[in-house]
Symmetry: C2
Subunit: 378 residues, 2 copies
């Protein structure tokens, strides 16, 4: 059997040994007094990562995609939604919202670009939106959207409009000031900046978003994603009381608790600055190889991952294989029509925060030598 590779895709990321040990926690009842505070504290620590005092986290068993689904709690048939998409994930989020009756207006950017304030202003002037969604980092392109400025622009034009951030590839690796920036929803999964194996969906909702949900006119038309079911559960565990709707993924919650403790063992700004520094250095390295990032600007480039256009004459499959042969797993592209034209590398979590592991150095070396082996000269 082939040896395990260092997982340097944009999620799942490499996991800390303590997090993996927590995954192997022996059987524990979901209502055990040992587990209840672990769940409760995890809810509280999620708040700290996105810098909110008052928003409501939902930690549920499911993929990050389940977070998209939960937007059904806020939507009613015919609601106007502006989707600012910077890649594959924005497009698919819209597809999810449409299933729940949303009427979608798109702001689409060319690959690598972010939406302009003019585009957003134009859309806001035309339509009163129930919700504006923005992908903080689109994993397909490595484009970073300025959610602070998007939220400010939306709330200035229309304070009632919900600002929904897809933070699947940003929570834990990008600065988010949930309260200060007046966000309403941040959606994420466990397996990226939070450094936990996949299997938890995490959604954080502002009190305003909860009000919109509570005052909706039609019943929430789903069962598993229904906040009527989950909100009492979150409230109970945070009050250190067990409650039951569906059996929580106990071991994943232990792992989340462990990773959040590690993340919050230093100021959260330190974490974001380190991610930004490593990302800037990595992009510099990419340019040094004579390559271009998909993200078209420095401020529009993610701090937890980088997508890079392939140089002429180099194909994605042999490059990915070349790195795999050196023990490094990277990812190809996934943008429709362009999937073969670029590759993607994750730089999040312990790979960034713990220099001694030399993960980033190993990626750089493997990338340089694999490109050389494929005949590319910088």
């Amino acid at each position: 059997m082939a040896p395990r590779k260092l997982c340097m895709i944009p999620g799942p990321i490499e996991f800390h040994e303590d997090v993996l040990s927590a995954m192997a926690t022996p059987a524990t009842s979901h209502v055990d007094p040992l587990f209840v505070p672990v769940f409760g504290e995890s809810i509280e620590m999620v708040r700290e990562v996105v810098q909110t005092k008052v928003a409501q986290p939902f930690i549920t068993s499911g993929s990050g995609t389940l977070g998209w689904d939960m937007m059904v709690n806020l939507l009613e048939a015919g609601d106007e939604v502006l989707v600012i998409t910077t890649g594959y994930f924005g497009d698919h989020f819209a597809e999810c919202l449409e299933v729940y009756g949303a009427k979608i207006t798109f702001i689409r950017t060319e690959p690598g670009a972010t939406a302009t304030t003019e585009q957003i202003a134009e859309a806001l002037a035309k339509t009163k939106f129930k919700m504006v969604t923005v992908t903080h980092v689109d994993t397909s392109t490595g484009v970073l959207s300025d959610i602070k400025s998007v939220a400010a622009q939306v709330k200035a034009a229309s304070p009632e409009t919900l600002v929904v951030v897809d933070g699947v590839c940003s929570v834990g690796s990008e600065e988010i000031k949930f309260d200060d920036w007046k966000l309403d929803i941040v959606i994420t999964g466990s397996q990226k900046g939070l450094g936990v194996p996949p299997g938890l969906s995490i959604v954080i909702a502002s009190q305003y978003a909860l009000d919109v949900y509570k005052n909706r006119k039609s019943p929430v038309p789903v069962y598993y994603s229904n906040w009527n079911k989950w909100l009492p559960i979150m409230n109970a565990y945070e009050a250190r009381k067990p409650a039951y709707f569906a059996t929580p993924a106990v071991q994943l919650v232990y792992a989340l608790h462990t990773s959040l403790k590690l993340i919050l063992s230093q100021p959260i700004e330190t974490r974001f600055k380190k991610h930004a520094a490593v990302a800037a250095d990595f992009r510099q390295f990419v340019r040094g190889l004579g390559l271009k990032t998909v993200a078209q600007s420095e401020q529009g480039a993610a701090n937890g991952m980088t997508a890079v256009w392939l140089p002429e004459g180099v194909e994605v499959a042999p490059l990915v294989s070349g790195l795999a042969g050196k023990g490094i797993q990277i990812a190809g592209g996934i943008l429709q029509g362009l999937a073969g034209k670029y590759f993607r590398i994750g730089h999040m979590g312990i790979s960034v925060m713990e220099d001694d592991r030399q993960h980033i150095q190993k990626v750089k070396e493997a990338l340089s030598s694999s490109l050389a082996e494929l005949g590319y000269k910088a």
Copy 2:
């Protein structure tokens, strides 16, 4: 901190050390050639556990409850559904189906009883049902329904009616012959008879159920639970090709693979017979204590758990605490109005199959002495 207790509730159950090690599998991409066959083989092994050659398993990230939600793929508004409920979980399954527009007819039994053929015949004579649901083992009561005979009765009266089995507390601990018994759906979670930590939803669908889904008139009104999304993923992984809709819970799938290998390392009949023998012995032990099981008959009693009425003068909280003090976690009741009147014990998986662990013996001893400490004399 209190020491960990042996988890003898009716799920999550105790997990094998190899399964826990698999939970700690280091980061692996969901499209890694190492992982793809693990997922593919898991799909195939799930078939073996429920003894089907042709049905389609769906293994997704979520709680067992997500399996209920997936019934939305088969339902259209106004569909008539007969729900045979033997406890809390049957009632809540109906609540889920109602959200998706089902018109529910209930067959309710008194606590501990199973539905009679007369009740079922009467219901089938009155209404043409799209679907009949039956909880194989209701975790709230430990009642075992004879799904073979229910399915035969339903299909004899109405071959088009879908037979849907909630097998959350039965798959892996109760005999299920999916094909022979002409079942259409079996729903389960990872954390009970399959011996894997919670976080995976597993649904097995007959080819007939897939036909009903494919020929539905209205679109499936949900996103995350939508088989349009999941069926191509399951087909791809089974064909040993990666595919993406939502990031699978890689570590949980490794754990499932490990547990299924252990389960299938001996003939599956051996497993079911052992569960039946241990359960019969445990009920005998309960009677020896002068106590009554909630399940009213031997053939209507689960083989993976037992619910027991408390004797006069013994309350549930001190009994659960008493056992906890002896290192054994058991569960109280959850039937509305009766929750304080009985307790529940799980006997599934390694606790049953591996005598050397002496789990059942420890439960018996702790139960006897805790009852004695509370002043109860057999």
